[in-house]
Assembly symmetry: C2
Homo-oligomer: 333 residues x 2
Amino acid sequence: MRALVWDGTLRYEPDYPDPVPRADEALIRVHMAGICNTDLEITRGYKGFQGILGHEFVGEVVTAPDPTWVGKRVVGEINITCGRCYYCTHGMPTHCERRSALGIFGHDGAFAEYLTLPLRNLHPVPSSVPDHVAVFTEPLAAALEVLEQVHVRPSDSVVVVGDGKLGLLIAQVMALTGATVTLAGRHPERLALAETWGLRSVLVPRGEPFTPPRLPSAHGKGDVVVECTGTGEGFAVARSFVRPRGTMVLKSTYHGLAQVDLTSVVVDEVHLVGTRCGPFPPALRLLQEGRVDVESLVERVFPLDQGVDAFTYARGRLKVLLRMDEPTVAHDR
Amino acid sequence: MRALVWDGTLRYEPDYPDPVPRADEALIRVHMAGICNTDLEITRGYKGFQGILGHEFVGEVVTAPDPTWVGKRVVGEINITCGRCYYCTHGMPTHCERRSALGIFGHDGAFAEYLTLPLRNLHPVPSSVPDHVAVFTEPLAAALEVLEQVHVRPSDSVVVVGDGKLGLLIAQVMALTGATVTLAGRHPERLALAETWGLRSVLVPRGEPFTPPRLPSAHGKGDVVVECTGTGEGFAVARSFVRPRGTMVLKSTYHGLAQVDLTSVVVDEVHLVGTRCGPFPPALRLLQEGRVDVESLVERVFPLDQGVDAFTYARGRLKVLLRMDEPTVAHDR
């Protein structure tokens, strides 16, 4: 099959071996997949993974241990779990001690014609949700995980720091609560997009000390601030927005150690909450109901055989998608 | 009056001006005061405070706007608050926007014959609690703040990292919940003290990479881990003990920025909670009921006029107390 493979260099493989599903796994033909910052991080050495990248996808079941699944269009949860460890048996399967993760470690990913996943990882996609929307299920679920972990109140003042693809999803999800949402970022055009959704925005200039403006809340600060940049600077900006006893959500992985002001976390008794993968069913519901704008986040769709170019293009951009269905003529010769 | 003053150098002043109480304040004759790590940090530049240090004390009311307080033996909350801002009117007075803090900023402290505090900051000390025990009310309240902020369950596995004076108080408070408590520290003699209280202990060797031992819990890790060292190394040790979705409590202020692994906080969805000052009434109850051993934490009592020596002695030690009542002969000449 055709696949985009990382083994220290990223390359397109026109003839990679097809994956062989295990007893509990379905074989899925991938329709479309999204490039995530984690994919870009892996090509910078994160996790030391080698194999087919990609964990955001929508596809169609080709074979399955339960034949009623065959032909269904599906999205899939990325953590492949043991079902028996403490975390699996205590409602925290995404923390399974023996997990592998689609396209991240121990399991080939979605930037290929086919992938395999256990049947229990799959969720059927409603027919009204097109592929280029369904492919956002995984990152939207990750955005919803903030609300799984933190109680955001309708009367809260929420700040999302970072106007990347994840920040723009999280900002929209936060706004569904009724809270006042402010997006803080460095890209005027993305802040303008957020304003079309009714959100407030704050431009964070590059290379200058940042002083947060007073927010429209009784205390002028953020009750809940979500850090989506994965940088020490972003942490400092987010911290500057949080009120005493407020909550700061960490959403992105950081490159190496981060230099952060923990004293102010102690003095202001801030709660910091790390969050990662989230629930697929509510993500699919919100996509079906059209409550989150994902189409505005798509910058470009590349065919799989131009995946290396897609990676180069994706750095610093919003969502770049790969479509698996039609190889370009150039590579079919 | 006699006082221990910090203005860039620490010095004993035999003839410092007496404090003048404001309309809502009591004048208190200090019996005894404790040296806290925050005091030591201030003499390293923390907060830029100048004046009389000290915020852990027990004393006797000399004058008060309500005369029924005169003659009462009291301890006092250290935050002097406005009573009107968002935080004061929302149950978070320790975060008052216009607060000063006894011996820390904007208000002279307890290392003196007299101090002033608003009457609403004071708590009478039961007669059965002697001065050298009552003087622990403030740090014990700070230890209890962990339980104000975090739900520790009787079935939890708790780790306290740092066997300093605050760590030893917090470890005892955690054990009152019924949880399995492990104290991790660098001082064998302090770990041995914790074992006399029925706690478990783990020696953290200096200058070597630390691998946490498996704890006696279903998952082998800590559900709640309290970091009391205020160092990046302590943070890393604490982090290594926390289970996925566990809680890490930050209890100490850090000197400058800390270098920390935030990616692992995100991946394991750890909750970090900063905590500071705590509630006095339960601290006084626990001291009266003899449920926390504070006497074993006293390393030495110095008279006030030997306060500079006391500070030198206190660094790296458990609790060092100052007594105000009897000036030594040498300084009275």
